[in-house]
């Protein structure tokens, strides 16, 4: 969704990266471009202004001059602000101790409320819940019909009455209780935030069913007005989160940033396609990193959890921690990592990977060469690479079908890595500065 923004930031930063010194004019130019990028992505102008002001306040003057790498400093500040703007924990549903858990859907017309309600119902079903959909949108012609069709596709019962939306909602919750459903999702009519009558009505619905969760559904294509309507809905209903729809288009979704900033409510779910299953939780903290090209480590971790052998990984981690990680472990871990899929996909989630590498045509065959080199070593050589002299090197190169230079490079890289691991604070917090893995080490430290 934020791909466009990611590219823009990458472009902006690449111009200052590596500069030893940044003049105030250069910082200004960068901030102007950041402003433009955010505005073009539909981030609210007021939010952009504050964003840029805060970055500026933290980047000009003494601190910047003292900083060893001013460009890094600027990027760090932008990252901090972006994480702050977009940030927040992803939603963890706390089910009502006395079922059903009541969920209220609200939003402007045409944002995809009814579809989102059905998708959410399906999501709950996948969580092992047994939801009921309640059609309280009695305003739009055929809205209840639509909900019934979608409910049918999701295999979720739809309840509705004619006449009064408030009464329908209340009866729907009752019905859920009666037939033993543990989640009830109430779809309401789309309304303009400035339509007092309809806002009163949804407030009344909310008051009479006391929802455990109230979600505002927002269209990813929405522009500057997103914050206005979100604010009004939040005042009327005290929202718990946002559901962002239509992310399968090419909208840049800057509204996500503004709404969270102005209303203080996070994006809880995103809808990414026309199929009912195209719907999932949103991870704000991951998104900030992705926008800045900082990778998506948490998704990577989840993927790893699914594919890696726990025991082997655990062993490697212990050795790493104890500073005893050798080539033998390296080989073992590398074989593990390969199971996570193509390197390219994994790389895109890694922090600090430059665009050139991210987009490079990676030859997976090279990995095999590395494997071959290590496999050609004896056990003793693997645990103590320092013993590898010229003749051993030649033997290894022959065994792996490569040159001694390649063997040398590998050994050198491995040595550097060992140093890096030690400095990465597997034991202590020191010297995390230049490591490309600092995002990871930090995440670890926080725990």
């Amino acid at each position: 969704m934020f791909d466009n923004l990611t590219d823009r930031f990458e472009e902006i930063f690449s111009r200052i990266r590596g500069k030893g010194r940044l003049s105030e004019a250069e910082v200004d130019a960068v901030l102007r471009e950041i402003r433009a990028a955010l505005i073009e992505a539909d981030v609210n102008v007021g939010v952009v202004r504050l964003f840029v002001e805060r970055v500026r306040a933290n980047t000009v003057g003494e601190e910047l001059q003292r900083s060893l790498s001013p460009a890094q400093h600027v990027i760090k500040m932008v990252n901090a602000e972006l994480t702050n703007a977009l940030g927040g924990e992803n939603l963890k549903i706390m089910y009502a101790s006395k079922p059903p858990t009541v969920v209220l859907m609200a939003g402007l017309q045409g944002v995809g409320k009814t579809t989102a309600a059905a998708k959410l119902a399906l999501w709950f079903r996948h969580q092992g819940r047994n939801p009921l959909l309640v059609g309280a949108d009695l305003q739009r012609p055929a809205a209840v019909e639509q909900l019934k069709v979608l409910g049918g596709q999701a295999n979720v019962t739809v309840f509705s009455l004619e006449g009064d939306p408030v009464r329908t909602a209340v009866a729907g919750v009752e019905e859920a209780r009666r037939i033993g459903r543990d989640v009830v999702i109430v779809d309401t009519a789309g309304r303009l935030s400035i339509d007092k009558e309809l806002m009163d009505e949804v407030r009344k619905i909310s008051g009479s069913i006391s929802p455990n969760y109230t979600f505002l559904v927002i269209d990813a294509m929405v522009g500057q007005d997103a914050v206005n309507s979100a604010k009004v809905f939040n005042e009327a209903l005290s929202l718990d989160g946002i559901i962002l729809t239509k992310l399968d288009g090419d909208a840049r979704g800057g509204a996500a940033l503004s709404v969270r900033q102005v209303v203080g409510k996070p994006i809880s779910f995103v809808s990414t396609g026309e199929k009912l299953a195209d719907f999932d939780l949103f991870y704000p903290d991951r998104m900030a990193n992705r926008i800045l090209g900082m990778g998506d480590v948490l998704t990577l971790i989840e993927q790893a959890e699914r594919t890696l052998d726990k025991e082997i990984t655990e062993k490697g981690a212990k050795k790493l921690k104890g500073g005893k990680f050798d080539l033998e472990d390296f080989l073992e871990q590398m074989q593990q990592v390969k199971r996570m899929g193509p390197l390219k996909g994994v790389l895109s989630m890694l922090p600090g990977v430059p665009k050139e590498i991210r987009n490079a045509d990676i030859n997976e065959g090279e990995l095999v060469k590395v494997e071959a080199i290590i496999s050609s070593m004896t056990r003793a050589e693997r645990s103590n690479p320092d013993m590898i002299d010229g003749s051993r090197r030649l033997r290894i190169a022959r065994g792996a079908g490569t040159t001694t230079a390649a063997v040398g490079t590998l050994l050198k890289q491995f040595k550097d890595m060992q140093k890096m691991m030690r400095s990465m604070g597997m034991g202590g917090p020191s010297a995390t500065k230049k490591s490309p893995n600092r995002a990871i080490s930090k995440k670890k430290k926080r725990r």
Binding site: V45, G46, K92, A143, G223, R252, L298, L308, L367, M417
Partner: protein, 377 residues
């Protein structure tokens, strides 16, 4: 790709894989970190983590929907404020220009056009040798007026029946509702209308259109869910021609302009709608006034696939200002023909740039900018 490269990458991966154990054993539930600490020590401005609410929200004023002026006035509130401020100002006051730029941006006009308007107005002001507030306001108005294309904005009927109007757009912009209103409009012009329920995708879309047909006294041709929309349009045209209806207004399924198969379907629809005996007079893109910069992309893509003849700007009765429609008109030369300013059947009205600007720029003295509004920064 050198071996060296691969080693670096492999090392990275290995370190990560090894870190996973350390992370994952703490349990899945701790994996997400609250925003305020997410940057760890990097959040230097952590005191700013609780962000002050920016003053981006215009005062909500509850005016019941009515004519264009009223609708726009409500939407244009902050423009009015601004113009009150310009009048009491001076062309050399950069703060006012900045405020003006922000106001244009808030209306979703986009950065490029906003800059163009400001720069143009500045230049014109300089050339005129004047710099008082009213000259400045006038210069800005002229620049904005220059973004609109000239010409008629009324919808066209063919000399011979049946006329066809095709209505297209992304999901949720209000296509079906707009068609209901168009149907009422045509009926008021004394036309006998067939509605073609070409949205065979969205659940119950045809039901919704049927209700509009009943309300506006039109006929409807509909098919089963999932049917080929072109065949529905074809049948409607045949029916209109055979039974002496004046026109067909064709609904289409909402489609994101990024879905190439759906855009191809639209091309086919257009071809069907212009075949004898049909006279395709309008292909109308429905654009939601709350749409941001993506609206321009939408307009561009729909223009490419279906050669749109005009834009219907809907939901202008909210607090959104619909600047993106102006951006589309300025870039593509496709005029905004109609605006939807309310929920009633007759709340779709023919657009007029001058009237729009009048309302947009109308000074609301009680909302003059305070010093606080302008801010010290």
């Amino acid at each position: 790709m050198t071996t060296e490269f691969i080693v670096v990458i492999a090392v990275l991966l290995v370190v990560i894989a090894s870190t996973i154990y350390l992370v994952s054993k703490r349990g899945r539930s701790t994996l997400s970190i609250p925003a305020k600490t997410a940057g760890g020590s990097t959040v230097v401005s952590s005191s700013a983590a609780v962000a002050p609410t920016p003053d981006v929200v215009a005062t909500e004023l509850l005016i019941p929907p009515g004519d264009l002026k009223k609708g726009v006035r409500r939407a244009g509130l902050s423009f009015g404020r601004l113009f009150g401020n310009i009048l009491g100002s001076d062309g050399s006051n950069q703060k006012v220009w900045d405020e003006l730029e922000e106001t244009l941006l808030l209306s979703d006009l986009g950065l490029e056009l906003s800059t163009r308007v400001i720069e143009g107005a500045k230049k014109a002001l300089e050339a005129s040798g004047q710099r008082d507030g009213s000259a400045m306001a006038n210069a800005v108005r002229m620049e904005l007026r220059g973004l609109f294309v000239e010409g008629e904005r009324d919808l066209e009927y063919a000399g011979e029946s049946p006329t066809v109007w095709l209505v297209v757009g992304v999901n949720g912009v209000g296509k079906t509702t707009s068609i209901g209103k168009l149907s009422a409009m045509a009926a008021a012009d004394g036309k006998k209308v067939v509605l073609a329920a070409g949205d065979t995708f969205r659940a119950a879309a045809a039901d919704q259109l049927q209700m509009w047909a009943e309300r506006t006294g039109a006929d409807i041709v509909r098919s089963v869910p999932g049917a080929d929309p072109s065949s529905v349009v074809y049948d409607s045209i045949q029916k209109a021609a055979a039974r002496g209806f004046d026109m067909v207004i064709a609904d289409t399924a909402g489609r994101l302009h990024t879905k190439s198969n759906l855009m191809d379907e639209l091309r086919k629809l257009r071809r069907t709608a212009e075949k004898e005996p049909a006279h395709l007079m309008e292909v109308l893109l429905v654009l939601d006034a709350t749409t941001g910069q993506n609206g321009l992309v939408q307009a561009r893509e729909f223009a490419k696939a279906a050669q749109i003849t005009g834009v219907i700007l809907t939901k202008l009765d909210g607090s959104a200002k619909g600047g993106i429609a102006l951006a589309a008109e300025a870039e593509l030369g496709v005029p905004i023909k109609l605006v939807g300013i309310g929920e009633k059947v007759n709340d779709l009205i023919v657009f007029s740039p001058d009237e729009f600007l009048d309302a947009l720029l109308e000074v609301e003295p009680q909302y003059g900018l305070s010093d606080e509004d302008l801010g010290a920064n």
